[in-house]
Symmetry: C2
Subunit: 186 residues, 2 copies
């Protein structure tokens, strides 16, 4: 009696739910299958094993983060843009730690969906810096450095746990980046 039908979008929704409610380490074919009311082996029709499941979550998590910071960047001008986007980045990490951790998943190839999703994420930062007056190449460098720095802070915070003075510490990081990325002739 095969009455339950699995769709890829339903599977994705459930997978994200598992990651958020039970943590990234709880993501498994079993946990997703049980929530879908289906046997683990049934998922092989839609996904290439656990690896495929993790990949699916990684792509969606990265897109969700990108959506959040892109939304935050809209209509915010000049020097304030980096601050705003930075806060949105950290908010995603703290509110969706499971998805944020999934963000670090390795792409399968140099031209797959996950690589594209990561490029899109960095491009939001690049657009912010371009709007601040940086030339295209410089904006790209600034974007990658910024993403690296923000990721590092949030990854450490999510892993090690948040403490009281983290707000001020994050502010210091954002200020450091802003000052360090100012165009200077020397």
């Amino acid at each position: 009696m095969a009455r339950t039908r699995v769709t890829i979008s339903g599977l994705t929704t459930i997978a994200i739910t598992v990651v958020e409610k039970q943590g990234l380490d709880a993501l498994s074919l079993s946990s997703v299958a049980s929530r879908l009311g289906v046997r683990p082996s049934a998922l092989y029709t839609h996904v290439n094993g656990v690896e495929g499941l993790r990949y699916l979550v990684a792509v969606n998590a990265t897109r969700n983060l990108t959506d959040d910071i892109r939304r935050a960047a809209i209509g915010v001008g000049g020097g304030k843009a980096l601050q705003t986007v930075g806060q949105a980045y950290r908010a995603f990490a703290l509110n969706s730690p499971g998805q944020f951790r999934a963000t670090l998943t390795a792409p399968r190839s140099a031209d797959d969906e996950l690589t594209k999703a990561n490029d899109d994420l960095v491009e939001v930062f690049a657009l912010v810096f371009a709007a601040m007056g940086l030339e295209a190449e410089t904006a790209k460098l600034a974007a990658r450095s910024t993403r690296s720095a923000l990721h590092g802070f949030c990854a450490l915070e999510v892993a090690m746990g948040t403490s009281a003075d983290h707000d001020a510490q994050y502010q210091h990081l954002l200020d450091t980046l802003e000052q360090g990325l100012q165009p200077t002739k020397d």
Copy 2:
């Protein structure tokens, strides 16, 4: 016939070996036990399950990273110190990706070995900035921001894979930090 004796230092050595040769995900009681010539259940005498094994690796990996960057910082003056320590940080990540990944493990409590190991790591950066003339509190902030930024870059590089222009990109990050952390009155 219990002829094989397990020591905690031997166990640690083997665990690090597994992490380096087979990757962090291959770290398990089984893999370590088989290399020790012992049954998995025998490890429970020395370590508190897989969690305890991961914790052991995390503490040692963090200490190894600290040793590396501390060594690199010796006898290097002024503005060059950050560059040197930064290069040593990345070298550890690229040469020992398994240990580097283990560096992100969550401490058990606020006053355990792993928390201490992490504090020691950040303190190396603090000492570098103090030597550059920053006041103690400022040096601490700079140290944490720097560690976050370097960790983020290396974590992304280790996860996503190294590509050709990463050297220049890392140099840009180090330069950004150096400029951004310069004491300015404004």
